[in-house]
């Protein structure tokens, strides 16, 4: 694995003290390639958000280590390392400061990391907004004037503003309706190809995983029960637990599937 930018080795995380402990993560090991989208799936309480927080440095692992480009990640990270790993949250309603304009929220990232000349930052914000598919005028608006999907785009733009190598996405589409979900996933796919960023995509929604991920880590009770490419996971799952997760996806029958493909082809041709 020569292109690995992030490697998590034997990560354990125990919450609580004495008798009252919870093993949130046990012996978690995985690697992330440059430009890869790694999905972390599992039911609620399986430890998928815990691993996100450990990677982001919100709290340190109990044992084990994470290396980023062969550099060990410590609990106290330098600004340079913080810049490299960015985050998009689940709830777009609270992720933006209600008292700050969209432009100011994005500008914070540029100011903190001193990206671009001071006079150019307005220009950079415009470019970022266009890149995530929002009109430039939005930078003067407050978050309250935006829909959930638009706010999630702003969160993505803010993460991109740091020019990170990795973006951790914690259920970025689960608070959105299906149509908006699809557009956000398209946007994420496009950005990953254009910018060569890696994603760690945390979700409980396997239908989303199929759309976006190269590799999948299936978590159950803090352990990785299956770790394989998306094709293998969907076509030939080894574990009973993975099969259960997949069988929980709502499906449509063959004729509906054909109709759906036809419709989306027509849609794609149109745009």
């Amino acid at each position: 694995m020569n292109n690995t930018i992030l490697f998590a080795k034997n990560i354990n995380k125990v919450f609580g003290k004495g008798k009252d402990t919870v093993q949130a993560l046990s012996d978690v090991t995985f690697g992330l390639q440059q430009g890869e989208c790694l999905a972390i799936v599992g039911e609620s309480g399986s430890g998928k958000s815990t691993i996100a927080n450990v990677i982001l440095g919100i709290f340190p692992p109990t044992s084990g280590e994470i290396t980023f480009l062969n550099e060990k990640l410590l609990p106290e990270r330098s600004l340079m390392l913080k810049k490299q790993i960015q985050f998009v949250q689940q709830n777009p309603l609270s992720a933006l400061n209600p008292k700050k304009t969209i432009g100011a929220s994005i500008k914070l990232a540029l100011d903190v990391h001193n990206i671009g000349d001071k006079s150019d930052r307005g220009q950079i914000i415009d470019t970022l907004l266009l890149e995530v598919g929002l009109p430039i005028e939005f930078k003067h608006r407050l978050p309250a004037a935006l829909s959930g999907g638009q706010r999630q785009r702003v969160s993505i733009a803010r993460a991109l503003a740091c020019e990170p190598k990795i973006i951790v996405l914690d259920e970025p589409t689960s608070a959105l309706d299906v149509l908006v979900q699809a557009r956000i996933l398209n946007l994420l796919n496009k950005l990953r190809k254009e910018r060569g960023i890696s994603y760690i995509f945390i979700t409980h929604d396997l239908a989303v995983v199929r759309n976006i991920a190269n590799n999948v880590c299936v978590f159950n009770q803090g352990k990785i029960v299956e770790y394989a490419t998306t094709d293998v996971i969907f076509n030939n799952p080894k574990q009973q637990y993975t099969r259960q997760l997949i069988s929980a996806i709502p499906v449509i029958d063959k004729s509906e599937q054909i109709l759906r493909n036809k419709l989306s082809e027509a849609h794609n041709a149109q745009f």
């Binding site: 600004l79 810049k83 709830n91 609270s94 992720a95 400061n97 008292k99 929220s105 903190v112």
Partner: protein, 277 residues
């Protein structure tokens, strides 16, 4: 701003608040031009016209040394407002900063700062102010210091609670992950979300500060003669009830109008700005 003013004047109770507060503030600012006897705010004696019931041109009557009571009252408003303003200008930044830091930092910082605050909160406000005034010499400046010392912990409590809940919000986490400094997160991210509540409390408190200052001078611990003060006017006039009723009734009504007005205004602001108490 325009919208807030419109909302303030559309509800009868808040309109009353705006009117009362305007009367208080305008009469304090333009006291020199409103009264025909501006010199009566000082040490003046006019024994030809002492202790008179309301009559023209002394519409509120005259006091025991013949000074116009109306003049004394509007100049007392001026002193009360200056006192209230200074107290809030000093105590709000102190209280708010301590509350923000304690609420955001948590841990030992929080324990130490909040326990100190609790000590101040556990002493009855008037008793604390009285003991400070007892130690120091009674004067306007020391009165302001005494009230300030008892006032900041209330803002610490308010802002601490707000900060605790704001810290849970995603935008704070987002700023942390971007790598923003603690100073930025506390004062640029969290503080703007507390302003509505702080401003509401300030409007309410202006009335209470005036009341506390009046209580202190009623007890003889505040502003000293010959400076006009509502509290000492009530205290002095109380000795001559019920015959010289105007000596008490008008200063007391003046206190009532100020406190009531600022309360109505504060309540109205709370509704409009959506602040919490």
């Amino acid at each position: 701003m325009k919208k807030i003013f419109y909302q303030l004047t559309s509800n009868p109770m808040s309109l009353l608040g705006v009117i009362l507060v305007s009367i208080v503030i305008l009469s304090a600012i333009f006291a020199d031009f409103i009264t025909p006897f501006p010199e009566h705010r000082g040490a003046i004696v006019d024994f030809s016209n002492f202790n008179q019931p309301p009559h023209w041109p002394n519409i509120f009557g005259t006091d025991l040394v013949g000074r116009d009571l109306f003049t004394r009252i509007i100049y007392a408003y001026r002193i009360s407002l200056i006192l209230g303003f200074v107290v809030l200008v000093i105590s709000v930044p102190i209280g708010v900063s301590i509350g923000l830091v304690a609420g955001y930092m948590g841990g030992w910082t929080e324990t130490i700062l909040m326990r100190i605050t609790d000590v101040f909160l556990s002493i009855p406000p008037l008793v604390l102010a009285m003991s400070v005034m007892g130690l120091l010499e009674p004067s306007l400046f020391n009165g302001m210091m005494a009230v300030t010392i008892m006032w900041w912990p209330w803002y610490t409590r308010l802002v601490y609670n707000l900060t605790r809940s704001e810290t849970q919000e995603g935008y704070v986490l987002a700023a942390e992950i971007i790598g923003a400094s603690k100073f930025h997160i506390i004062f640029r991210e969290i503080l703007p979300n507390c302003w509505a509540s702080i401003i509401t409390k300030m409007a309410l408190d202006l009335g209470f500060v005036i009341l506390i200052a009046a209580s202190l001078s009623f007890l003889g611990l505040g502003v000293q003669a010959p400076t006009p003060d509502l509290g000492s006017m009530v205290a002095e006039g109380g000795n001559y009830l019920p015959d010289s009723w105007w000596l008490v009734i008008f200063p007391a009504l003046a206190i009532l109008i100020a406190v009531f007005g600022f309360n109505l205004l504060g309540d109205a602001l709370r509704e409009i700005l959506g602040g919490e108490e």
